[in-house]
């Protein structure tokens, strides 16, 4: 099977990329192709990169509190280009009720601080297999 392609991006202005980098390295070690976009990305930059790179998954790490503005915009931009099939997941400092609201808005699962990277890897693997089974 081909490798899963994942875009790991840091939306917003906070510079805390420790989590994003740990996740990027963990996904690579799990055999995925990880495209890392760096810090301070706008939703437009993230959606453009996701579409150009034809990724399966977008992983967002956000700790600045701007998640309710930035994540829905990424979803909208992907949908505008017909790519609502891309899984948008991620984590950071996001209160539970906001996570629920975002998941209802169309993201995949969102993970809180302290989640082992293995949990994210497993989640992406399972999602990908389910999708491949569906389209096959």
């Amino acid at each position: 099977m081909r490798p899963i392609r994942v875009l790991v991006a840091k939306p917003g202005l906070d510079g805390h990329d420790r989590g994003a980098k740990v996740v990027a390295a963990a996904l690579r070690d799990a055999g995925m192709e990880v495209i890392y976009t760096g810090l301070h990305q706008t939703p437009e930059m993230i959606a453009t990169a996701a579409i150009q790179e034809d990724v399966d998954v977008v992983g967002l790490s956000i700790l600045s509190g701007a998640h309710m503005t930035l994540i829905p915009r990424v979803l909208d931009l992907l949908r505008d280009d017909g790519r609502e099939d891309i899984l948008v997941t991620g984590g950071g400092i996001i209160p539970r009720e906001d996570m629920d609201a975002l998941e209802a808005r169309g993201t995949g699962r969102l993970f809180g601080p302290g989640t082992p990277t293995s949990e994210l890897v497993e989640y992406i693997h399972n999602w990908f297999e389910a999708r491949e089974a569906q389209t096959a």
């Binding site: 917003g12 510079g15 980098k21 740990v22 701007a66 400092i93 601080p113 302290g114």
Partner: protein, 554 residues
């Protein structure tokens, strides 16, 4: 050493060997490691500090291992300085007045991310972020509001700002002028430590060289105009939070400090003119004794290097004054009440290490900005430590402890070894350009993550002693979109009322001066007085300096 002392040591050596045999027979446990990775022995004795000079040291004397004041905390307690800021300037102003009324003794401004990056609240990149993680300050007008009714010649104020630090500092000085305060009486600190931004925290604006120029400009200007102001807070905090070990935090931060001193001297400044205003900022992590030893080692290394390497003569250039903050990275979202306990131990380590000021984190900070109740518990934690435990009664109470003295020496030698490595890669600036420093931190970070995931390192409530109840059981502070709307309308009003011609003139003057070697501080201050905004000033210099682009290192 006298013969009697040597015989005594021989006897001890024998006893320790016997004890070791009994210990090994009785325990099967594997070696334990400190956060920095070195082995922690099960017992320390006089053998571990034989010939150690520190045991003979007293507080307030070179090399200041045991503290910078001869009086310890009896002369002056540490400053309880809670980092705070959210939403708009009026909201944060109200919070400051509350904190001062509760017995807090200094203010510490947390800016929102747009401000930290040099964007105005009405800049498109600020959308969704205004006031979220700190207060939004886009011009002198906001700064005036932030300190309305708080006399700036009476209260010491610390500002966590780096990339655009000189601009915010200019707003502050201009706001103080408007209050009628005398510049020479202003007390406080701007963080202004750009090297650690490239290394770890990432709130940069300009490339390395022009950024260093602005810092030295400020050293020179401040020595003349605001002599009591701390022009920089050389910060290990963010380096540690990004994943460094205690030894790396110690070494990289001090190496940053030495780099600033070198740059100041290279500008032609006398080291004793600016070094007394350099201050430090440390992260206080979980490994109790290692953190105390780190602070003791830091003071000793700084004093020695300043005297021996840079020829400083003024005692104030030799002493390391520092602020401490309990480690945000140790807070857990799981069972958040446990964080109160972590913070209390960390606060005690900071005090036993001789900190000059302290921020204690609130239990909910891994989830959101702290609620008023959580902040109060954090402040009370310091007050209990100060007034109930008796810990501050004796200066450096752990001085002479076999373990703490040995660990202090150990951290000092680890730091010296890292200084040598930094020299080998060409110094701090070169090490940042090639990514060597970033990679060291990143490797430590990955290793710690791995240890936690492999359960080689226990985090209570996260990878052990886990409960099934809901992940979150405390109320959270929510900053809504109103702050952003309000801030935008404040900006619009300010822009409408200012003298646009003057704004253009002042910005053009700054831009022109940036192309020369002139000290930019007076020109930035003139911009601030004319109500040029943060982004306008940032952009004027960016036209000349360019912007920093992130290199990628994993």
């Amino acid at each position: 050493m006298t013969t009697a002392e040597m015989l005594e040591l021989d006897r001890l050596r024998e006893e320790v060997a016997q004890w070791r045999a009994r210990f090994d027979a009785a325990t099967k446990r594997n070696a334990l490691f400190a956060n920095s990775g070195h082995v922690v022995e099960p017992l320390y004795t006089a053998l571990d500090i034989a010939g150690d000079a520190a045991a003979a040291e007293v507080p307030g004397e070179f090399p200041f291992t045991r503290g910078i004041h001869p009086t310890g905390y009896r002369g002056k307690l540490w400053t309880m300085r809670q980092f705070a800021g959210f939403g708009t300037a009026p909201e944060t102003n109200a919070r400051y007045k509350y904190l001062l009324s509760q017995g807090q003794t200094g203010l510490s401004v947390a800016f929102d991310f747009p401000t930290l990056m040099g964007y105005d609240s009405d800049h498109p990149r600020s959308e969704g972020e205004v006031g979220k993680c700190g207060v939004a300050i886009s011009s002198l007008a906001d700064m005036e509001t932030l300190f309305e009714g708080i006399p700036l010649d009476k209260v010491s104020v610390s500002m966590t700002i780096n990339g655009p630090a000189v601009i915010l500092f200019a707003f502050y000085v201009a706001a103080a002028e408007k209050q009628g305060a005398v510049a020479a009486e202003l007390r406080g600190t701007i963080q202004n430590d750009i090297l650690k931004e490239y290394m770890a925290q990432h709130a940069w604006v300009y490339p390395i060289e022009p950024a260093l120029r602005l810092i030295v400009d400020n050293f020179a200007w401040s020595a003349e105009h605001v002599p009591l102001w701390n022009t920089i807070s050389i910060s290990g905090y963010h380096i540690r939070e990004a994943g460094a070990t205690a030894a790396q935090e110690l070494a990289f931060t001090l190496a940053d400090g030495f780099t600033y001193v070198e740059r100041g001297i290279a500008r032609g400044l006398d080291v004793d003119d600016f070094a007394p205003r350099l201050s430090f900022f440390w992260d206080i992590h979980n490994d109790f004794f290692e953190e105390i030893a780190k602070l003791r080692a830091a003071r000793r290394i700084w004093a020695r290097h300043m005297r021996e390497r840079f020829g400083a003569k003024d005692t104030r250039s030799l002493i390391m004054r520092f602020h401490s903050q309990t480690a945000g990275v140790t807070l857990t979202a799981q069972q958040p009440m446990n964080n109160i306990v972590r913070v209390a131990y960390q606060a005690m380590a900071a005090v036993l290490g001789g900190t000059q000021s302290l921020h204690t984190n609130s239990m909910d900070e891994t989830l959101a900005l702290p609620t008023e109740q959580a902040v109060e518990v954090a402040l009370r934690t310091q007050q209990v430590l100060a007034y109930e435990t008796g810990v501050p009664n004796v200066a450096d109470p752990l001085g002479g402890s076999y373990y703490v003295e040995a660990l202090t020496d150990k951290l000092e030698s680890e730091a010296e070894a890292l200084f040598t490595k930094i020299e080998e890669v060409g110094g701090v600036v070169r090490g940042l350009e090639t990514g060597w420093l970033q990679r060291q931190i990143s490797e430590s970070s990955s290793r710690q993550q791995w240890e936690v995931e492999q359960r080689r390192r226990t985090i209570v409530g996260v990878n052990d002693f886990v409960t099934d109840e809901g992940e979150l059981t405390i109320p959270l502070l929510k900053v809504g979109a109103e702050a952003e709307r309000e801030q935008r309308s404040r900006m619009a009003a300010m822009r409408a009322s200012r003298d646009d011609a003057l704004v253009k003139l002042r910005l053009a003057a700054l831009r022109d001066a940036a192309k020369t070697d002139a000290n930019l501080m007076p020109l930035i201050l003139d911009c601030a007085r004319a109500y040029c905004t943060l982004y306008e000033i940032r952009a004027a210099m960016e036209e000349v300096f360019g912007a920093y682009r992130e290199p990628v290192f994993f």
